[in-house]
Amino acid sequence: MSGKQCFVSVKLISPKYMFITKYIKEVFGAVKSLAIGMKRTIYYFTHHKEIITQEYPDNRDTLVLPERFKGEVVMPHNENNEHRCTGCQACELACPNGTIKVIFKNELTPEGKKKKAIDKLVYHLELCTMCNLCVEACPSDAIKMAQTFEHSVYDRNQLTKILNKPGSKIMEGVE
């Protein structure tokens, strides 16, 4: 279609004056594209039903957060107070801000061998940008992003969290 139009205009107007057709086409194209944009926004204006924002403090109990919303890093534990963290430090290496620090201890296995395990997985919430790189780096799915977001505290120290619960150990079968 456009090729045919172009052919016609070449026939009618000598190449020297082609810029005029280009100019007119540009004007009409601009008006058309602006009109498309305005049509979209007037559609939103007149269909005032779907609201993408939340009236947060009011609907705190019924708040629905999008799936991809990320609030903080947590380490899930099962009912026996066991986590999946092997202490491989992949998250610590992946973190661009030095948010995560893994502190080790030596555990004795039932056979009497020494085994390296995590003592504390320290997480600095105040440094975290919720980039999700640590969760992606983790080979054993030990950490994940939680959707909690009311993080305000009066003391900065409270933002430094220890992710593994006291007395927890590594789950059976996670290496």
């Binding site: 004007v27 944009g37 305005m38 979209r40 926004t41 204006f45 005032h48 609201i51 924002t53």
Partner: protein, 358 residues
């Protein structure tokens, strides 16, 4: 009959009966000034709220809904906040110019109110060069912006002011040329003449293609002249913090803010007067009954309805289009709008001479 004209005549008669002519004139001028300031305050409150609501609805949000019923008192609360804030003058600023600039912006806006016909036979000053007066005075707006930008002693302010200068000076041309299209059809610069020429149909219906093109160009040009998005390079908050009013705070900032909205109202009022018939009701040919019904709607409602429709269109622009770069802005004016409006004026003149409009 509770029309504006009736009230004005009553006041005039009462004043003439009780005072001598000079005092009557002075009192009437003061009353007009107070009325204009009152209108400014009301417009500021209404338009800020309207802008925020339109923005919210276009962006699928709710908008202000906390202060007062349905958030209607939001702009009142904002005004109160601005009034109690300190109006700071920076140390390095040119004190006199810095403090005078916001008032110049307001004075220009007040001067522009003079020739606008708000209702049937209700006008502050029906001077015989009304349209010329408007286009001449509206270009003074750039002085206050340049003053503010220059005296702030801030590079953002200066950049914003310089951009604004280039922008307003260039877009004045195409705004003027599209106003001229209507002047050519009417044969008069007087606002009341232009409105009366539209008694049998507004120019947007009578003037065919040239008037449509002139109307579109006028709307684009006045959007640029009032420094509103997509032409808000003078403020450009993402590049220049707040442009020419970066250093302003408190009530002095509020005056600039108010002046922007007043200017939007004024240019929309001018647009409504020139193209949409001002306070003229909507009439269709010889449908007597329909025309009679339309006449029952008060003229002030017609005027404000049309003006607010145009204001809505300009707000609609703001929340749809992205901001232009300075070179794109000047390209649009000098390579597109100006040549088109010149050819358009030529066609309109030929039509007016040959009598091809209704």
């Amino acid at each position: 009959m509770w029309s504006f004209r009736h009230i004005a005549n009553e006041i005039h008669a009462w004043l003439s009966a009780n005072f001598n002519p000079t005092l009557t004139l002075i009192i009437e001028m003061v009353l007009a000034g107070v009325a204009v300031i009152g209108l400014f305050a009301a417009l500021g409150l209404v338009l800020v709220l309207m802008e925020r609501r339109v923005a919210a609805w276009i962006q699928i949000r709710l908008g202000p809904n906390r202060v007062g019923p349905k958030g209607l008192l939001q702009s009142l609360a904002d005004t109160l906040k601005l009034i109690v804030k300190e109006g700071l003058t920076p140390d390095g600023a040119d004190k006199l110019m810095f403090n005078v600039a916001p008032f110049i912006a307001m004075i220009v806006a007040m001067l522009l109110m003079a020739p606008i016909a708000f209702a049937k036979d209700f006008q502050l000053w029906d001077l015989n060069i009304g349209v010329l007066f408007v286009s001449a005075v509206s270009s003074l707006m750039v002085i206050s912006i340049l003053m503010a930008g220059w005296s702030s002693n801030n590079k953002y302010s200066l950049l914003g002011a310089m951009r604004s200068g280039a922008q307003i000076v260039s877009y004045e041309l195409s705004a003027g040329l599209s106003i001229l299209t209507i002047v050519v059809f009417t044969g008069s610069l007087q606002v009341s003449d232009i409105i009366h020429a539209q008694a049998d149909g507004w120019w947007i219906f009578k003037g065919h293609l040239p008037v449509w093109i002139a109307f579109v160009i006028f709307i684009i040009a006045v959007t640029a002249e009032t420094n509103r998005a997509p032409f808000d390079l003078a403020e450009a908050e993402s590049e220049l913090t707040a442009g020419f009013h970066t250093e302003y705070s408190g009530m002095k900032f509020a005056l600039f803010f108010l002046a922007e909205y007043i200017n939007v109202f004024i240019v929309c009022a001018i647009g409504a007067t020139l193209f949409l018939g001002g306070w003229m009701p909507f009439h269709i040919g010889n449908w007597e009954g329909f025309n009679r019904v339309m006449d029952y709607i008060p003229s002030s409602i017609w005027f404000f309805g049309k003006t607010f429709f145009l204001i809505f269109v300009i707000m609609w622009f703001r929340w749809t289009f992205p901001r232009l770069r300075i070179d794109q802005l000047l390209n649009l004016e000098w390579k597109y709008l100006l040549p088109i409006s010149m050819i358009n004026l030529l066609v309109a003149t030929a039509m007016a001479i040959l009598g091809w409009h209704f």
